[in-house]
Homo-oligomer: 491 residues x 2
């Protein structure tokens, strides 16, 4: 909406718009905005499914396909899904043209409808990340971290430190990237995708192996570290400068918020469970959990952290309650409809044209990308070396298992793009790094792991835990009926 003022002011200062025109415009705008959102969602879902299925066919993580699908429908190619931030207006949006051709959208209203529709899709994408991080939190397990203990911790810390330092310093001194942007790119190098890692391990049946457990444990811890780093870096990006006091304050507030939320949450979670058990109406668990998650997300946003940090904390807290699995199952369909909006939007907003080598100015972006890829891979493999232990551990496999950045890396790229601190080429370079690491990990991982022990079916990754369990959304129906009969007899 505020975006739309840009367009309005470009008209208005010369002649005030007559109110009637605005009236009719807003009268017809509502249905057109809904129609535009419906079309956009159809495009988003088609892109995510086509891309995801294609990747699944060639045995790559589907999330990559969603990103690539977004690139295809976005500003880089089809211009179906374009956003005002990219400097696009309604005339460059194929969906707006389609609305004008098929649904009778008037040119006068087109710009306002485009702005509104883009705003709605952007918020749906942001809700998508929030739900995704809530789900990752739900699938994370503090106890597992403690169990796999020092090895996972060492792997995670090394795997975060080396890529971050090497990436940031390298960007600053080799490529003269502005400090804040370099730190952001360095932070993006720290991520590990627990989802993709877990899925790949399950596919090669190594999830229950010693190496597999270390990787999962480290990836979980990496999520926490990465999200704190993201919150810190994103806040830095907002203030635009690095004051040590600022950094310390952010680290402290991030730590205090996350730890405090978890401690307080663990105290309150029994009340949460007791409350939910008392509720009788449909959706009692899911809505209670989302009230909690959205409230924490708001608090995190209000104290200048990222909303996703609050959602992740909420997930971690609820993961420790007896409601965890039931909640995971109910969150899955919600994530299925919202998360693709995020991934496809990230892809759609990424202008890969800046990586066209034909343009001399773009070569820097490609060079940066290849630098980031090298740092990203070497940094995580070094982390594998940290996996000491009594018995022989396949350290290479551990390191390789940490390589895929996947959705977490994309979260960094998305937040970075939104914050505006990243240059187009650097943002695209990060996306290329995420794509490359996530593409390379699965084949690498197979090579690194010797064929051998088979995992049992019940060691399926958390992401697949939805399978094989029953939901009882309205288990209280019988009581309700019973009460109804009682009360009716009293009437």
């Amino acid at each position: 909406m505020v975006d739309s003022t840009t367009w309005v002011t470009s008209f208005v200062p010369n002649f005030p718009l007559p109110t009637p025109l605005l009236a009719t415009a807003s009268a017809e705008a509502g249905p057109m905005i809904l129609a535009g959102v419906l079309l956009s969602l159809v495009v988003v879902y088609l892109a995510s499914k086509l891309g995801g299925e294609l990747c699944a066919r060639i045995d790559l993580p589907p999330v990559l396909g969603e990103l690539v699908g977004g690139v295809v429908v976005g500003v880089s190619a089809l211009n179906l899904l374009v956003f005002p931030e990219g400097g696009a207006d309604s005339s460059s949006s194929l969906i707006m043209s389609f609305l004008q051709a098929t649904a009778g959208l008037t040119p006068e209203a087109a710009e306002g409808v485009f702005q509104a529709q883009s705003e709605v899709i952007s918020v749906l994408a942001e809700l998508g990340v929030i739900i995704l991080l809530f789900e990752i939190g739900l699938e994370s397990d503090l106890k597992e971290l403690i169990r796999v203990g020092p090895q996972a911790a060492v792997v995670a810390v090394i795997g975060v430190t080396i890529p971050f330092v090497a990436g940031t310093v390298g960007l600053i001194y080799l490529f003269n990237v502005p400090t804040v942007a370099a730190i952001f790119a360095g932070a993006a190098l720290t991520a590990t995708s627990i989802g993709i890692t877990a899925k790949v391990l399950a596919e090669i049946q190594q999830l229950s192996s010693r190496e597999g457990q270390i990787i999962i444990g480290a990836a979980v811890l990496d999520d926490v570290l990465g999200i704190v780093i993201l919150a810190v870096v994103a806040s830095l990006a907002k203030t635009g400068e690095i004051e040590v006091s600022n950094v310390i304050w952010l680290i402290v507030s991030a730590g205090v918020f996350l730890i405090g939320a978890i401690l307080v949450g663990r105290l309150l979670s029994p009340l949460f469970v007791a409350l939910v058990n008392k509720l009788k109406t449909r959706g009692q668990l899911l809505l209670s959990a989302l009230i909690f998650a959205f409230a924490l997300a708001y608090i995190a946003a209000a104290i200048n952290l990222e909303a996703i940090l609050g959602a992740f904390a909420a997930g971690l807290i609820l993961a420790e309650t007896e409601k965890r699995h039931e909640l995971e199952e109910q969150v899955i369909p919600v994530a299925d409809i919202l998360v693709p909006v995020f991934f496809v939007s990230v892809g759609a907003k990424t202008d890969l044209n800046v990586l066209n080598p034909a343009v001399p100015a773009n070569r820097e972006g490609l060079i940066i990308a290849s630098f980031l890829v090298v740092v990203a891979i070497i940094g995580k493999i070094c982390a594998g070396v940290g996996a000491f232990g009594k018995e022989k551990v396949n350290r290479l496999a551990v390191g390789v298992g940490m390589i895929p950045r996947g959705e977490v890396g994309l979260v960094f790229a998305g937040v970075g793009a939104a914050s505006g601190v990243l240059s187009e080429s650097l943002d695209a370079a990060i996306i290329v790094m995420v794509i490359a690491t996530t593409f390379l990990a699965p084949p690498f991982l197979r090579v690194a792991f010797q064929t051998g022990e088979k995992a049992k079916p019940e060691t399926a990754p958390a992401l697949d835990s939805a399978a094989g369990e029953a939901i009882a959304l309205d288990a209280s129906a019988p009581e309700k009926a019973a009460e109804a009969v009682q009360e009716s007899s009293q009437n």
Copy 2:
């Protein structure tokens, strides 16, 4: 969105806004809009759960509580959730004040953020109705209609005709209501809430009774009739006048669209099932179904019908596939998070102050409401008389079972309020009618039904079918793992 231009123009014509200010404004707007949406959703979910649970406790349909909860947080009382259509601006929104107090929202950006947040919530509410009607379609059953046959059909037709004619004519000649508005109010009288009716029947264990089957069959048919009527009336409201050719065209297009969509859909649904069975990635069924539903919803909207009609048709079509139950289970959490936004918004937008009898001008609204309530109840009871049949049928019970308007009536009220044809008092009167009929039905129904035959547990209503069945969202995981192993051995 376009609404926001009203605000901008009120400032801009005097002095053009400097671009930098707009830039910073839009830069800070993004996170603030998300924060506002998060707060609004927390308010919506709290209102829907508190209201719903309260109603469940006093043995009334929870959907009523969601509506009343919306009234409480809306313009009638707390002003937490207010909308620009109601003439509100950011200063009257408690959420905006809260954002300024806690999240550092600047007064300059407040209006734009308010407009954007309201736009997003409105679209979420519209997506809520679309999902709700998709779900109702999924739970409807053409075959069941054909089986209960003529009796249900007669009940449905009488139950639609009498309230519609009596209501419309009465409003025009007794209350001098404009024709289009009167037709809209009359149309709202035709609805029957299959959800509430089914739930009430289950609570008093009459679902499997002869009367119960007639009621359900008639309610399902009533849904179809009501939605066609709604589409016709809503389109009339758009064009603002009644041309017979127009009415015929709309009835024909509504019929052709619904029947054509169902016939074509039934031909294509095997392909749909085959396609979904081939898909391997998470959410394959839900997203494929939503692509189908949203596409039909867009087509319906594009040919000047209502988007909900397309969603309902999509639900009816997919209800005939083997995927029905799996899909119903996956749609439930999606409906749980979106549908409350619709009910609470309807309540929040309803200014019950127009029914304050202290104000002389309001008394008309109250008189209209009581008239609508009488017509609504008598009309449906007359419909019960149509339930002829060999064996003795409790016709009063059948009629009373058709009384609750519930969510379908609220859909009419919501669409009517959005279309702007309904005066505030008439809109509020319809809401009062919906509340009254839905409140009165359960006790009436208990009185009307003699205690007697007990229904078997497996005759639980479709709404409860989520219970006791297993979801296998990622049933293809084992094959994936197997293929992964194969391909890895080939690599």
